[in-house]
Each structure stands twice: as structure tokens, then as C-alpha cells.
Symmetry: C2
Subunit: 430 residues, 2 copies
């Protein structure tokens, strides 16, 4: 057995603690599987005396995590601070510059600055690893990089935010509205005090940009992700979805289109019986489509000390074994500058819910607009009958161009008979 | 770029051809992702002039695949011949002895002789890789070895034979019996001319023994797998399963029990809505349970040129990149000699279908036997009412000891009122 790999953990929140816990409790198994010991030698966090239910008294305490980057006793810095800027970024940069390998679960940092960091890693020969940044315990980054490396990918679709999936699942199961369930989730600690990163789709976008970069060997392009969160998803739409054989999920989807790669995050109706449609609660899942392998589906816990810690420690074990790879599969200089498409160019099926005045000719007015935009309807449901009053009209379309659909919605919204802003949800038949 | 990695492919059946095809068509992508070229320099098969739809005229032809083992122009031998003995075994042994790395999809060979081969690989410093041996395109071996390496595993359960899953799916969807669907599958080429390896569960057992060895870091113990195939599964049982909320699947399951590790392959009733219950047709799926990560589920195509070729080429790419690992996660000398349990020690729930004479006291006779064996019933269904004639009685149990269940079945079979051998299917609430 060679000399141990010495770890410094910066940040002792849920994942930092989970990582420490696994390294300590599985020490023997890890040593066997790597051929060397992995030892945590130092830790850093905001409050030294906070009770974490784990003894850190024998570990060196760093008041300033930046000191880890220059400490010769540390081989690998595990960055568990979070945030795309500030201390997390400074620490990762300094560590890589000093030739120390870095393992992180920080999706915001990798999505925004992954390429600069990968360059630093290349320069110093350090490893930059971030399996834990996407979909917690699911080894999806290693799958794209190693297990499915012989494929050209045409599509990735995933449920990558446990908070959103929990909220959507709870809304449906408990027949409650978004605001109520969110408040409940915040009270229980399932959602952050500021839940906007999660519910507005930003966290999913970070993860999607990372997966896209690995699948297409390009730089993460977070600015090229179309993002829509789940705040506007209603129980009413869930009920109609169920009637149509669908369930509403927040998906991150990247696919090859004629105009380039299209990255998008938004609520989708997916078939209830599909693998992604069956993922409930805090679980995450990713479906990948490769030209040789076809569809491969991965499901597991997307957050928490154990699952995310499992991925962090797997990355550390790779370093201990000397596994060789590039953070974004290719050297930075070889990454492609690929064209990205706008959501306007999307070809999709759509669900549209309208509140209209119940009078003769309503459907004729609406369908004339669709005809005008060359959109073909697939089904419609009118709920209720109350002459002169508001009734609900639900339409689904065959595949159509997003831009045409947006124009149709704008035109429909202006009709006298339409009483509220139409609700549109994209349908993904995956 | 360094000098190319030179490949010899022995065997040009479905997977051999698929491998060749991917290496040729994805040459540029593979070179970029590995940092070196992968070149097929030689091939071997039974018939040189067979039309394979792929040009092999520029490749060296080996009449005897054994020559590949000693040819200095070949770095890696891809063994696609199949079978646990004979040419396949001789070729892999000779190649590893000569220091050539070997990639194979041969589950029978690895399940029976993996340890001897791993020893040869260790001795010569060659790589022995077999991602394609289990579950086709799903990178489950790499997941156990790398992505989930920080976990202690307590359970693996998988649908790992596409032929069986196709037959079971078709029986249910087409409402046809096993023999009919099998004949049809053979006619269409979905099942082998001799289907017994598949339908009798042997192929699944090979794959399960390999996964067990990776998860528990022990030698593959194919002799310790309890095996039951799908020949006795009837449409009638599928109908009762559906009524109870289950679907019948051939599973391979390894789990930690009090008496040791229990490996078993048999038809199971699994909840229709569970991830494994939703896997249909030729798809494969594996669910892994680790102490940190919890449940992780993988689904994808289990066979075919593309999916299995995808895994073969991924292994070759690992070799090109110089990825370091042991075939069974640990050096052979460090593999554990773990105790294995017999199926008698299984704790499971059971489904039992009886054909009984419809007369008063039937249920009392049957339930007395269960009481005697300390087995608690969960539900029963009596179908039909025909005094003095045969009716069906379906029982399900709470969790009970397999040995007790076997005793109860033997006793029930001897009752005068029981008209046919009882049908028992284990229930897995996963």
C-alpha cells in the first residue's frame, strides 16, 4: 500500500458532513478498493463549535479555507462551500493553481466557471472532479464520460431537482396548490429559505449545462439555457394532465436540433407510464440517448448526505487510483464551439388551457388562429357548460414550432372571449 | 497524440460486428475522447466470406483466433466467440499470458473462470474487462466499480435476460402461453435455437454471479446461485398477479442475509408500478442498494450490436486512456471468501395457486398447514364456485421462511382435495 491520500474538506454542511462520515466509516473498504488509504486531515466551516454529530476534534481546523490551498499536508481539497463566486471559487482556483486536485458538488461554480477551472487543472496536472454536482448519488457524469463514451448523444432529459420533484409530487398526491406545498416544504426543511434557485429552475439549468458539456464535448453554456420554473404549475393542470395520460415534471432537456443544440428547463407533461413520469418525491433521474446504446435511464436519490457524499467519495477514490480523464472529456482546447438554438426553434407538442366565455363560435375563433399558424390540433376537452359564463377549454397539439405556438397564444389571449392569460405546458412523449 | 491502440476482434457475430462498426464509424470521437486512435488491425471468425454488411477486406484475417494472442501487432484482444470453455477460454488465457489486454462480453467465461483469468491479468499487467457481459449497454459494472465504489452493497436485483423479459412481456400483452410465445420468438430470431440458457435462467445466473462478485468483492460463485427459469410461468398466474397489483418478471437477486449472501434467479411477482415492474420487452434493468447512496436504478437495452458494442468499446477506451482497476475491484488475493446462504434460508412473501375440490372445509385444511408452519396469510382469492368440482384458490403470505413454505407446499400437495401440483411464485416488494 502506498502513502495515504490526504483530504481537506471545506464546508461542513449536509454534503461535507456526509463525505466525512463515509470516509471515516468506510475507511477499510475504501482502502481496499483504491489500494491506498484516504484520510481527512483538515476541515473548515463557518462555526468550529457547531454540533455536527461527528467528532472533528482530531482534525486540523482551518479558520480560513483558503489556507488549505497552500497547505502541503493536503493533496485534495473537497469544496463544499457552494456558490458560483466568492470563497468557493477562490479556493478552487488557488487549489488547482497549487497543483492540488479538487472535488466539488458545486454545480453553479462548474456551470459558470468550469472551463477556466479546467484550464487551471490542465496547467498544473491536478484533477477537477464534480460527479456530485449533478443528480446526487447517480453516477451520471462518469456514465457519460466512461461507460457510454463510445456514443454520440442526441438527447438528455432529466429530473434533476429534488425540491421541485417533491413539490410537484406532493401537490398531486395531496391535491394542494403550489404556494401551500412550498410553504410546507420550507417549514420542514425540504426547501431552502430562499427557494428561488430550485423552484425557478436555475439549479436544474446549472446541472443541465454541465451534462450538455460532457455529452457534446463543449463548454458549459449556462447562458444558452431556456429556463422556466414551476411556480405557475397548478393543480388544475395536473388534473387535466392525468386525464390525458400525463404527469407534470420539471425537466431539463438538451437535444440536437436542426439549428443547433437546444437546452431548456421547464415544466413538461410526460406520459404517466414513462420512466421519467414514474419518478416521484425527492428522487432524480436522467435519460440519455446515444446512437449506439439507445436509451439508458438512471434513477436515484438526488440529494442528501449519503447519496451526494457517495459521489464525492467516488471522485476521491478515482484520484486515489490515478484514473485519468479530462473534466469535460476533452482537453479544453479541443472542446467544440457548437451552435446553440433558441427555444423558438423547438418542435414540440403543446397543452393549452383557456378560460373562455361559453358561447357559440368560441372553438371556431380559436381553431382559426391555430390554422393560421399552421398548428394541427390533436385533442380538445371542454369542461362545463354555462352559456355566457366562463368555461375551461383544454387543447393539445401535434408537433408544432414553438415560435408559431407563441404567436398563436398571443393572438388567442387578445380574443374578447378569452378571460385570462392562457396556460401553456409543453408535452414530451419520451 | 500517442501511437494507436491496436485491436484484434475474435468472433464477428452480432456483438463483434457491432464493435467493429462503432470503432470505424466513431473513429474521430473515440480518438478525441481517449487521446489516441483505436484501430482494428485483425479479425477472426468461422467463415471469412460470410456477408456481414461491413468491409473487412483491409483487415488482417486470422484463420485461427489463437494466433491473435501471439501477434505483436495486436495490443488488445476482443473475445466475441462465447462459451465458458474451448476456444474462447484458450484465447483469453493465451492473450493475458502474453500481456495483451482482453475485452469480452462472455458472461459464462467470466462467471466460471473469471478468477483464474484475473490472476493471469495481474501477473502480466494486462487488463481484463467485461462491462458488456452484464446488461448490454448499461454501464453497471463500471457503476459498481467506480461511481458507487464508496458503498457497501446490501442488495442487487435485475432483469438481465432480454429474451425472458420479451417472452414474459409478450405472454401478457398477447394473452398467450409460454410455449407459443417461445416458438414465435425462436422463429423471429429473438430466442436462440436452443433457448435453454436463456429461459432456464442460466444466463441470468452467470450475470448475477458477476455482479455479486463486484459488489461484495468475492470470487464469482456460479455454483451458489439458486436457479429457476420461466418455463412454468402461466398466463393464469399473470392474471392473478395483475389482480394483486403485480407483474411477473425473471429476476436475478443477490442480498445480504443472516446466513450469508443469497444469490437466486427465479420468476418473481414485483409491484406493477415499481421501476423493475415497468421494464418491458428486451430492456434490461438493475437496481442496486448501497448503504450511502440508497437505491439506484439503471435501465437500458440488454443486447444487440449497438448497446453491447457500446459497452465493449467503452472498455477498449478505458484501456486506451490507461484507466487502472482490478477486474473484480480488488486484487485476487484480497477477495473475500464469504459465506453463501441457501434459498431455504430466504425470507420472502409468496403467492400460491391451488386447484382444489370445491367443498366445505377446504380453506380450513389449507390454513391449518400454514399455521403449523408458522406462516401468516395475507390474502386469498377463490375463483369460481362449483360444488364437488375443481376451483382455483390463490393465497398470498406475509414474509415467511422459504423452508417452511416448501414444507407447507409439500403437505398441501398431499391433501385429497388438491387436484394438481401447487404453483408457487415468490413476491418481491421492491
Amino acid at each position: 500500500m502506498s502513502s495515504p491520500l490526504r483530504i481537506g474538506i471545506a464546508g461542513l454542511g449536509t454534503v461535507g458532513r456526509g463525505t466525512l462520515q463515509i470516509i471515516i466509516s468506510q475507511a477499510k473498504l475504501i482502502e481496499q478498493r483504491c489500494g491506498k488509504k484516504i484520510e481527512v486531515v483538515g476541515v473548515s466551516a463557518r462555526n468550529k463549535h457547531h454540533n455536527r454529530g461527528i467528532d472533528i476534534s482530531h482534525l486540523q481546523w482551518f479558520d480560513d479555507p483558503m489556507q488549505m490551498a497552500s497547505d502541503p499536508k493536503i493533496d485534495v481539497v473537497v469544496e463544499m462551500i457552494g456558490g458560483s463566486e466568492g470563497v468557493a471559487k477562490n479556493l478552487v482556483e488557488a487549489s488547482l493553481k497549487a497543483g492540488k486536485s479538487v472535488v466539488t458538488a458545486n454545480k453553479a461554480l462548474i456551470a459558470h466557471h468550469g472551463i477556466e477551472l479546467a484550464k487551471l487543472a490542465e496547467k498544473s496536472g491536478a484533477v477537477l472532479a464534480f460527479e456530485a454536482a449533478v443528480a446526487g448519488g447517480i453516477p451520471i457524469i462518469k456514465a457519460l464520460r466512461d461507460g457510454l463514451a463510445a456514443n454520440q448523444f442526441s438527447r438528455i432529459a432529466g429530473i434533476m431537482n429534488g425540491t421541485c420533484n417533491y413539490i410537484l409530487t406532493a401537490m398531486w398526491e395531496q391535491k394542494r396548490d403550489f404556494d401551500e406545498v412550498l410553504a410546507d416544504a420550507m417549514a420542514k426543511g425540504y426547501a431552502e429559505a430562499d427557494p428561488s434557485f430550485d423552484v425557478d429552475g436555475i439549479d436544474t439549468a446549472h446541472k443541465l449545462a454541465i451534462l450538455t458539456s460532457l455529452a457534446y464535448a463543449c463548454a458549459p453554456a449556462i447562458g444558452e439555457v431556456y429556463i422556466e420554473g414551476i411556480r405557475r404549475v397548478t393543480l388544475r393542470d395536473m388534473e387535466f394532465a392525468a386525464e390525458l395520460g400525463y404527469v407534470i415534471k420539471l425537466l431539463g432537456i438538451t437535444a440536437t436540433t436542426e439549428g443547433g443544440i437546444l437546452q431548456r428547463v421547464h415544466p413538461c407533461m410526460v406520459p404517466t407510464s414513462s420512466p421519467l413520469g414514474s419518478v416521484s418525491g425527492v428522487y432524480n433521474a436522467v435519460q440519455v440517448e446515444g446512437d449506439s446504446v439507445g436509451k439508458v435511464f438512471f434513477e436515484g436519490r438526488g440529494a442528501g448526505d449519503g447519496p451526494t457524499g457517495s459521489s464525492v467519495v467516488a471522485d476521491i477514490m478515482d484520484i486515489a487510483r490515478g484514473t485519468v480523464y479530462k473534466p469535460f472529456t476533452l482537453p479544453v482546447a479541443s472542446l467544440a464551439a457548437l451552435p446553440f438554438a433558441k427555444v423558438d426553434a423547438l418542435q414540440s407538442s403543446y397543452y393549452l388551457r383557456l378560460s373562455v366565455t361559453d358561447k357559440p363560435g368560441v372553438l371556431a375563433e380559436v381553431t382559426a388562429i391555430f390554422k393560421n399558424e399552421n398548428i394541427s390540433l390533436r385533442s380538445f376537452i371542454q369542461r362545463g357548460h354555462a352559456p355566457g359564463e366562463a368555461v375551461e377549454l383544454v387543447l393539445t397539439t401535434h408537433e408544432a414550432l414553438e415560435l408559431s405556438m407563441q404567436k398563436a397564444i398571443a393572438a388567442i389571449a387578445k380574443l374578447d372571449i378569452v378571460r385570462a392569460q392562457p396556460t401553456m405546458i409543453r408535452i414530451e412523449n419520451i
